[in-house]
């Protein structure tokens, strides 16, 4: 009897650990039902209220109220183009062409998913505020300390970047994995 109870308890513990691991893999990682364009991740499908339970749970946890539609597409990057987690102790250069949309914004968030406090109260760069190079491309620095040119303030811990595209081109809506999103390069770390 004791042996049976021990095995039952062990089975329960193993089952719970496996269940939590499954949940992390399917929901908490935030990759279920998404596509990537370089380091940028977005939902693979347009908003609909017939999502399967796993899509719904992933969206609720990672992209609450931010499902893609034909009027808005949202990308988030938690890693640079080399695959390393974004770290506010480092300096990053975000380069490339502007997204193909009527309007876009790029915003930094802390590890808790909220805006990052900074003295200037600057949280984002947008189509209206960005300074462009002569060839039309953009260069944005993500760093804790103020940087010349286009600058997004980040904290001194892990951060993520979200790009919101408003009235995106039909090609972006149809194929969000090939929107030619900017490259995120780690320039220097202490």
């Amino acid at each position: 009897m004791m042996q049976f109870l021990r095995k039952a308890l062990l089975t329960l513990v193993v089952g719970i650990i496996l269940g939590l691991a499954l949940t992390w893999f399917t929901v908490m990682r935030g990759t279920f039902g998404t596509v990537t364009d370089g380091p940028w991740r977005t939902s693979a499908t347009l908003d609909h209220h017939n999502a399967n339970p796993f899509e719904r749970a992933t969206t609720a946890w990672h992209r609450l109220f931010a499902r893609n539609t034909d009027a808005t597409v949202t990308y988030t990057a938690g890693h640079d183009s080399g695959g390393q987690a974004l770290d506010g102790n480092c300096i990053y250069r975000i380069t490339g062409h502007e997204p193909d949309a009527q309007w876009w914004t790029m915003t930094a968030y802390g590890p808790d998913g909220y805006l990052i406090k900074n003295k200037r109260g600057l949280y984002s760069v947008s189509k209206a505020s960005v300074a462009r190079r002569r060839n039309g491309t953009i260069v944005i620095t993500a760093a804790h300390q103020r940087a010349p040119g286009n600058w997004i303030a980040v904290g001194t811990s892990h951060f993520s970047l979200t790009m919101r595209l408003y009235e995106p081109a039909p090609g972006v809506v149809a194929d969000p994995a090939n929107a030619l999103m900017p490259v995120i390069t780690r320039v220097v770390c202490p």
Partner: protein, 186 residues
């Protein structure tokens, strides 16, 4: 070896069943948990919450955009339908989206679909009795009694902020009386 496998296999299968059941239970419960937590942060339902420009101290919505103006109405239509109205601005992107208790976006409109920005909705559960929908209002059925209505206005020009914010402040939500009139306030 074979005997060991035969003895262990039922326990392994049981562990797998427990794992899948736990995973599914969490997956099914998570959206309602997230929405419930959000609604609790926002406070009493059926009235518009005035949201100043979001900043680093703002906590009611995760990943808020500093380039959007928000008007948020947590709703509870279990007692009565909800009348929703707004005069959204021209010349910029705006949207109104409704989310049920499972975080599903069951209804949305934006500036392309409503060019003049005039919004009048009545939100109700199917079969809700004693309801007269005012003329000019669009009836929208919610899958759940509780949820959230979210207005968003894009700040595409900071010089235009006063006009955009004035439009944001026109957003209203309030319980609909049986006569078809809205209650005052909200």
């Amino acid at each position: 070896m074979k005997a060991w496998v035969l003895r262990t296999l039922p326990w392994a299968l049981a562990a797998l069943v427990i794992a899948m059941a736990l995973n599914l239970a969490i997956v099914l419960a998570l959206p309602a948990f997230v929405m419930g937590r959000t609604l609790a942060l926002l406070g009493p339902p059926n009235s518009m919450h005035d949201v100043a420009r979001v900043d680093a101290d703002y906590r009611a919505l995760a990943r808020p955009s500093p380039d959007l103006l928000y008007a948020i109405c947590p709703y509870d239509v279990s007692a009565a339908p909800l009348a929703i109205a707004a005069a959204m601005p021209r010349g910029t992107y705006w949207s109104v989206a409704m989310f049920d208790s499972q975080t599903d976006n069951f209804f949305r409109r934006n500036n392309r679909q409503v060019p003049d920005g005039t919004v009048h909705f009545v939100l109700a559960r199917k079969g809700q009795a004693g309801m007269a929908v005012p003329n000019g209002s669009t009836l929208v059925y919610t899958p759940s009694s509780k949820g959230l209505v979210l207005f968003r206005i894009l700040i595409d020009d900071h010089a235009d902020l006063a006009r955009l914010d004035a439009a944001r402040r026109t957003a209203r939500c309030a319980p609909l009386q049986a006569t078809g009139n809205r209650n005052s306030g909200g």
